[in-house]
Symmetry: C2
Subunit: 189 residues, 2 copies
């Protein structure tokens, strides 16, 4: 567990034992069953989360109550409603477990003190944020340039394991198509 986080950090920065232990003390472990709310929309967002094991979805409910999946978070991913987290406002989204899931949680004060006291961690978060931004931009591009079938195959290529782990309804909700349309794609290939 501890080693999982350490390995994850050391993909981008190098750490001594002391440094890692100092960092590690900022996190707390949390466990969730399947279909638990990690946080709900309308509520403050105290933490961001590093997923140790399991699977989460970050969802937005529109005016009609329809659910839209902003992102899936698998092992080794960071997740939160980052707007609400950084601005300490109430969430517009909910974070929900799709499997039994373990996370390390990082309260915003700890995030700030990590950045302020351990320059390497600030650099780590900067790199992660840049990667997150790039990833989002590519998702925007896939929504702009591709139809349902193409988007499905892009997802299939990027995260083949996801299709084994979540229902097709969830996949459709992520791709931005109805589950019926997603189902019909298979008729063609």
């Amino acid at each position: 567990m501890k080693e999982t986080l350490r390995k994850h950090l050391e993909k981008l920065i190098s750490l001594t034992d002391d440094e890692f232990n100092a960092i590690f003390s900022h996190f707390a472990i949390e466990h969730y069953k399947k279909n638990d709310f990690i946080f709900q929309n309308g509520k403050p967002v105290k933490n961001c989360y590093f997923v140790l094991s399991g699977l989460l979805k970050l969802v937005y409910h529109d005016d009609l109550g329809k659910e839209h999946i902003v992102s899936f978070s698998m092992e080794d991913w960071w997740e939160s409603d980052f707007y609400a987290y950084f601005t300490q406002t109430k969430s517009t989204m909910a974070l929900i477990s799709l499997e039994e899931t373990s996370v390390y949680s990082l309260p915003i004060e700890n995030y700030k003190s990590l950045c302020a006291t351990i320059p390497k961690m600030e650099n780590f978060f900067l790199q992660k944020s840049n990667l997150g931004f790039i990833g989002s931009q590519q998702r925007i591009l896939s929504l702009l340039t591709s139809n349902a079938k193409e988007r499905y195959h892009i997802l299939l290529k990027q995260h083949p394991s996801l299709l084994q782990r979540v229902s097709k309804t969830q996949i459709a909700t992520y791709l931005g198509v109805s589950r019926e349309t997603l189902s019909r794609l298979h008729s063609y290939k």
Copy 2:
């Protein structure tokens, strides 16, 4: 000009004169006419850019040659093909001026040395990157939850000045609808 950048940085971090001058020396000014390429797809991306005045579009050309606008960059915005910039690979997108435009350019080596030598700047870029990520996620959400008309009104609300500055064809390309569809939206409101 120099003051524009300084004011921009000081929205998020505070700087002494000396600090700012050290930072400023990492940038170079560049001027472009309307419809110039700042960089082209297929070419390396040497810089990221801070827009002093004018307007840019970051575009992707799909297999059919159709253009998709990933983002507009107005005054006070940072822009690049960040994937190509950070990984020093060739761009998949092009950055093009829509007006006469002045930018400060920041080569990747200078970005890295800024981060490494001036912790405040690393913090600045972290905050900017977080904001950029949040903004992208909201655009994803608008693409998932809203139809053409709603997306148009969201853009109208967020950047009313944009509609005065660019053609409706460009707006349509950003929204992910055909210009004819955008045109027909007005019939309803």
